[in-house]
Symmetry: C2
Subunit: 258 residues, 2 copies
């Protein structure tokens, strides 16, 4: 936890007056990812689970496919870099990646105009309403960093009954990439899993879940138009506004039993 | 407004039962920006104020400096592209941009290791506590799209007494870029302005405000460590958790009079 936060002085003003206090804020640092010695990207992130983050990012971008390809991972934490070497040392094709550069909370490019090419998630998983809501509650209980700083997103991979992987990051996508990266590294089956995120369900989330073959995506907040469309095409059950005893199921509702 | 939202069917589940209803969700579409016919980036965004978005993005990235440089702007809304032509037709240097590629809600690269080179905001602006809180309330009143969909961020440029520019987008950075782009296009003075955002105060926000020369940045939510550090270095007053009658002032509190 200590690695994930910093303490800053702030002048705190309330109706009762003002005083200087120590505030806990989430750490944000740059991490530059190299693949076969090629510089791929610099992510602004919260410095823990950096191997998971790098692997999840590269996997979501289609730059790595399975862990057998990987020859070694070297984390240079001091200099904010991570180097991933593949067994195949040929130069990495970055044509796809360059177009995905993105600002804002949307993830651009990869699947644009390629909806037909989207991988369909093949899974017969069914989950009950009660299970989904329990998992959301469970994730919220775990989000202590968020409660402390108000500045991070969290994401979790769960099976029906419990959360298996839980990650936090200053970046919405990063939290999901950390989860997917860990899943990739552990070689977990994904077709029977559920991903839960604290963030909005935009197209990049549906893309990442589809790429990883995760059939159910849940958030306590809203989807975007393209997030829902991509989930529909990819065979993903997309659930928003999952709070208390409520939820809105946008796509493939047959997976949710009542 | 109609351009900014879509209506989707969702299966809405509540303690009282379930029914299929029309849900309003925020539109998310790709916009590819070309500068002098070079493809720069594809942003996932909410389709309004696209000229402001493109100009604000290019300005924040240091690819354009003033509106006199610009020869023409052509919006191809159908195909999701915007083409900006400069009077100077020489190829654009994208070396800096490539490193800024980013995932997640952090904006990478540009200023990394360049803290010494950060432009200092020169402004003697002072704003009262009351004015800051009024402006936050005013922005919240305007955020009707957010209230409808739960899926957008908003940003505003204000002078002491009132909001001058208000923009919304599915992307946190995009909302800010739309504000800065409009400011750029209108040729507004920035040293006496305040920027308010619904999103977290990460490094990219401090970077964008610094680049635009805006001395006060306010949010109802949290800063990150690097967001605060960059604001400190850039001479920006950074205010988080501005809600009701409270706020936390992280940097350069001398600008806020009580």
């Amino acid at each position: 936890m200590e690695n994930k936060v910093e303490y800053l002085s702030s002048l705190r003003i309330t109706p009762d007056g003002e005083k200087v206090e120590k505030d806990v804020v989430v750490r944000e640092v740059p991490l530059t990812i190299f693949l076969n010695r090629q510089e791929i990207i610099t992510l602004m992130c919260t410095p823990d689970d950096l191997e998971d983050l790098a692997l999840g990012f590269l996997y979501s971008e289609g730059l790595i496919e399975n862990k057998e390809e990987i020859d070694g991972i070297t984390l240079g934490e001091e200099e904010g870099s991570i180097r991933i070497e593949l067994k195949d040392k040929s130069p990495v094709n970055l044509e796809g990646l360059k177009k995905t550069s993105t600002s804002g909370c949307g993830k651009g490019g990869i699947f644009l105009g390629q909806e037909g090419k989207t991988k369909k998630v093949e899974s017969k998983l069914k989950v009950s309403l009660f299970q989904v809501l329990s998992l959301v509650r469970e994730m919220e209980k775990r989000s202590s960093l968020f409660r402390k700083t108000g500045g991070v997103h969290c994401a979790a991979l769960a099976e029906k009954e419990k959360i298996l992987i839980y990650r936090e990051d200053v970046g919405r996508h990063n939290a999901v990439d950390k989860v997917i990266g860990n899943c990739f590294r552990e070689g977990l089956t994904t077709s029977d899993k559920i991903i839960i995120t604290s963030g909005r369900l935009s197209s990049d989330l549906s893309w990442k879940a589809g790429k990883a073959g995760i059939p159910v995506v849940v958030s306590r907040t809203a989807p975007t138009s393209l997030g829902a469309r991509l989930a529909q095409i990819s065979g993903i059950t997309l659930i928003g506004f999952a709070r208390g005893r409520r939820m809105n199921i946008y796509t493939h509702s047959w997976r949710i039993s009542r």
